[in-house]
Point group: C2
Amino acid sequence: MIPSPLHTNLLRLGILCLTLTLSVLSFSCNQEGKTENKTELKNQKPVLSLSSSQAEEIKGLLAENKVLKTSFDQHQKKADKAILNGVEIPMPKDPGGGYTHEKHKRNYGEMYAAGITYAITGDTKYSKFVADMLLGYAEMYPKLPLHPKSKENHPAGKLFWQGLNESVWLVNSIQAYNLVSDAISKENKIIIEDNVFKKVAEFISVDSKKTFNKIHNHGTWAVAGVGMTGYVLKDQDMVDRALYGSNKDKETGFLKQIDMLFSPEGYYSEGPYYQRYAMMPFMLFAQAIQINQPDLNIFEYRDQLLGKAVTTVLQLTDENGAFFPFNDALKEKNYLTSELIFASNIAYAYYKDTSLLPIILEHKKVSISGAGLEVAKALKDFKPKAYEKKSLLITDGKDGQDGGLALLRMPNGRNNQKLTSVFKFASQGMGHGHFDRLSIFLYDGKQEILQDYGAARFLNVESKEGGRYLPENNTWAKQTIAHNTVTVDETSQFGANVKTSSKVSPQLLFSNLKDANLQIVSAKEEDAYQGVMMQRTLALVKKEASERPPFIIDVYAIKAQESHQYDLNFMYQGQVMETNFEYLKEKTLVPLGVKNGYQHLWKLAEGNSNKNFATLTWLNQNSFYSISSLVNTDSKMVFSRLGANDPNFNLRNDASYMIRENNKKNHVFVNIIEPHGNFDPKLESVQNPHSDVNNIQLIYSDEMYTIVEVIFKNNEHYTLMIVNQEHDPHKQHKVTIDDQAYQWTGNYNLKTN
Amino acid sequence: MIPSPLHTNLLRLGILCLTLTLSVLSFSCNQEGKTENKTELKNQKPVLSLSSSQAEEIKGLLAENKVLKTSFDQHQKKADKAILNGVEIPMPKDPGGGYTHEKHKRNYGEMYAAGITYAITGDTKYSKFVADMLLGYAEMYPKLPLHPKSKENHPAGKLFWQGLNESVWLVNSIQAYNLVSDAISKENKIIIEDNVFKKVAEFISVDSKKTFNKIHNHGTWAVAGVGMTGYVLKDQDMVDRALYGSNKDKETGFLKQIDMLFSPEGYYSEGPYYQRYAMMPFMLFAQAIQINQPDLNIFEYRDQLLGKAVTTVLQLTDENGAFFPFNDALKEKNYLTSELIFASNIAYAYYKDTSLLPIILEHKKVSISGAGLEVAKALKDFKPKAYEKKSLLITDGKDGQDGGLALLRMPNGRNNQKLTSVFKFASQGMGHGHFDRLSIFLYDGKQEILQDYGAARFLNVESKEGGRYLPENNTWAKQTIAHNTVTVDETSQFGANVKTSSKVSPQLLFSNLKDANLQIVSAKEEDAYQGVMMQRTLALVKKEASERPPFIIDVYAIKAQESHQYDLNFMYQGQVMETNFEYLKEKTLVPLGVKNGYQHLWKLAEGNSNKNFATLTWLNQNSFYSISSLVNTDSKMVFSRLGANDPNFNLRNDASYMIRENNKKNHVFVNIIEPHGNFDPKLESVQNPHSDVNNIQLIYSDEMYTIVEVIFKNNEHYTLMIVNQEHDPHKQHKVTIDDQAYQWTGNYNLKTN
């Protein structure tokens, strides 16, 4: 998958040794890959993503290579339309979603499109458009104060209310300038470089030093924009600040960001939604570094971490390609976004990882760049196949010691799709993190079955608080009760305090995702609630009766000295079909609680059971699912629906089902989660509409061991033995209960019948 | 499209002149298409759907014709599995969804599959399976009492709780028997015919005479089963009863059903969901008639009505192929169902209407029959294209005088999909009809924007009342408030009385669906509420600014002598984005009313406005929609959500928005319904998130005329003039208001700017 250093060198050579078929100037290219110019060089400019020779080759391929053609045509069409509309640079005024905000965003997009089009066609009307636009910015920018709305959305920008947008503007605009600069007069270049790029870079890297030095996606966009500008302006000091931080002490800057923000597997601590966003500046800047400072070997850095990061973010998606929506995340965002077109193209170009090609094919376009050219050529002979989603354990934290994520995937046994369960025991994930430790969620094929709410935000929708995160993002989406985990005493983990939460992480106890019949992960969290130790073990089990879908054994053990209320919540998606217990629906609705997210749930019904397990069965898109929970007569089953205390209809009206245990110290929740049947509207037939669970038992539970048993109606027995304390995979264990001995080796054991 | 009589004759000939390549018997076939047998005929059996020669041809084509192969393989696979499992004929016991119910359903399906497989392969293990199964039924059936659960679901069956299922059993089983009877011994044939088919036919046509003579889909299944059995048993009396009714006086029976149940365009009065179901016995029996009594020219009957009926039911579908869900209808049902595979195959075979082929291609299978063979051959050279959905006016009632339906379809101007609005002013539609006169619903491409709830039912889901219609189907789904129309004084139309409602129908006033820029329909309902005259005019208008989607002008005029409360409801699908008025959300929720469906709505919020129009904007699947309603300061805007008084979670929790006018006599609701923008998650850009409506005015309103004007923010003016009373399309009209003259010819006029 990963190319040899030789290959990487050849690639580097290819980029630097420009074949200037159109140029009248003569070049020689020596063995070390350095370019010597005999006269004034037309192509002296540093290259950020597309060399003249690559542009030539792309031009030559347009007639035959469909994906290149489609991709290029989009740029040209956009550029043509932009030229038709003319240059407009409005005085910054509006917040996100508003006119001036959107216009300045469109401007950099149009400059980039025109830059690409000039590079391929050589038509100077495109370079002129970019130059005119930049000269316009040169007029305005030096005199700009902070954006009038900047207070609403710190840290501030000038063109935009938010500094982040300013960095994104720079990343795009400097590329456009780089693509057209050979067509701009020396005088105008000086104006543009002095009054636009130096000024913007200064604003970002000096005036906004704090953000520039942040170990955070805002920092990544900042250093990428400034670093790329440094290459173009031949300002190595600017580049070094971007690489090593303002003080050039390597305590901040791009390399430090790679060190700190990614786990060894390339998991980005803010989560996949922001990883998607951050991958663009990470990869674009890395590409520029590779071209201009190849000796840094940036793509080899930290054991090829940037390549791993691209793979990991692609794996962190559901069967629709949408990013798993934990932390602040918009569910509609998937791997078809432009950020991942750039990132995956660059990753393929440098690592030649063919497993990326199915995704790239799905993109239906490539970036018009050296990387995109590589990809387009590779796609020519590529036979379409599905991107392989794997069961993965992904650690969090720079050393992989801050918990992580487990992706459990198994064929769903019904329609050639996969059952996917995500178990989150990761670190806080900075300001966009949610208080969701030990939460799980579940997909069946493309359907969400147990959801993570994601973020309460309508991106760029002006009427929804200007497109920002809504108040309900804090009051609901981040709160523990919004997740499929346990809330203690109706308060969120860490009292919903990011600072406290960021200091500690859950810990992985053991995992095995390699067994085709059993995927299992166990993790603990001992700090979220003072004096409350929590351990959750999630097992995805293939059923013996092979025609039935796999099921989940979910064991959530809690130990505490004091008595508490434990609410284990399930945000199930679908409609209630049946329960094996009685419940009473409310005649009028009041909120389930007063704060910490509870105030947003309308309480619909409450039930209890005199059986030892409670089953809820629901229907989702013609498939049946059940949760069967170990309960006692004191357990309460609470149904609720989101939407209370939501004055502006900001929340979705999703359903929620909770097992509530009151006045408990130690407690073990045991849940069996089954997909088990379906309704075929064509045949009007219903298969297996009822849960198969016949009994659930907690056989043993102490500091050392938890043993649970589930018995199905066909008399299949599954006994899961879990070691709670240590994780020596070779140690032998024995527990004797009522003369029956349970013996096994290692962290866990699943005994069937 | 429709073949010449010559062609039909040739087809008939082909079916009757069997080319018995496998038979050792000699045949001659004379010019009149009659078959003479010289010795005892192996193939003397009447043919219901598949002749020996057709079976031979299909067998020969299996290697090369993929769709035939796929279709046949499914039968063979099912038959093989059935043979492996053996014959089981349980004593009838369970209601719908229960074991014995499902088993007897499976049994006829398996017999039919085995019958087909025998016909193609000639392997007697398949005919033996059918014979054994039928001999088993011969043992049981004569002694069977009425089904023990039959009281729960009248009219009764014996094998099933419902007589309808018994008829369906017969339709399938008699075909299976017909396919294998040449392989059954004479003695067994006598046993089977005497103890099964005669008995079932007697039960259906004599014991259950009332249903048999019903002008209703239950009656259609009954006469189809009995009529086809008559052909097979060579019992012309049985056939005649099926054709002409029990008394053979043509007052009931198959032909009368065709007369009474369809409008001239082939609209079936129960609505598309049941039309889909009824088309199967209609077409199967018609096919048997065509083969056995070709002189009846059944496919030419009533100006080729059966062909029109197939086309009409296919047009009555949304862009997903799902039937428009009015009356009792399950939304998941679409034109891929087996009923429409049979029906469309037969329709193509007899009418050679190639416009059906795109649907047949989507089916990905054909019936294994003479008709299916025709279709499979036609598909060979067919170039895939989309099925053309048209704007249509479909009248209701046997003479087309009982109101009808209008399907307004126009390109949505955004993504090559259509905006589709359905306006329903049809008759009651018998027992499955809803009290929904003058209701509308709206789709944008594949998305429901303003919904019809459909039926409250989970078909065959045992835990939901055995899969029957739920109590909430009566208390909610049928009620007027569940529809996008006006409810007067919180009571449903006709006091929700089917008998009263069935006596009268709404009336079409005028329509024009041919104009690419304006589709318009006006209809009135004067009986639903005593003393309340209602007229609704729906216009789908192409916008002048061509890049914007079309919009709807909805004018709902009410005249009454007494004061009433008028609630115009919109069951919008999506999430509230913004309003141009203030509203107050409830802190605790209580139902909106106490009966007639209102008891099921939680009242969420109420608002009012000091502007003269109220706009609600919502987001559905990344697209923005708005309803802007003419209001005054007394108007109330009420938000509610379904789910109150729903003890078993039987209802979906859908949203509802209502314009409430209190204490009004005459009133005109004017609403502008716009799709107007979208959110692109890939680009993170939002286009046109706000309604474009700048003002709405009711310029004039009396007995004769209604004139409304809408002004958009780009200063486009649209003035719609409607004639309320008459419908002479050539008459000239003039109204002068404040010195401004409005002049036009015909029923309506739309003036722009």
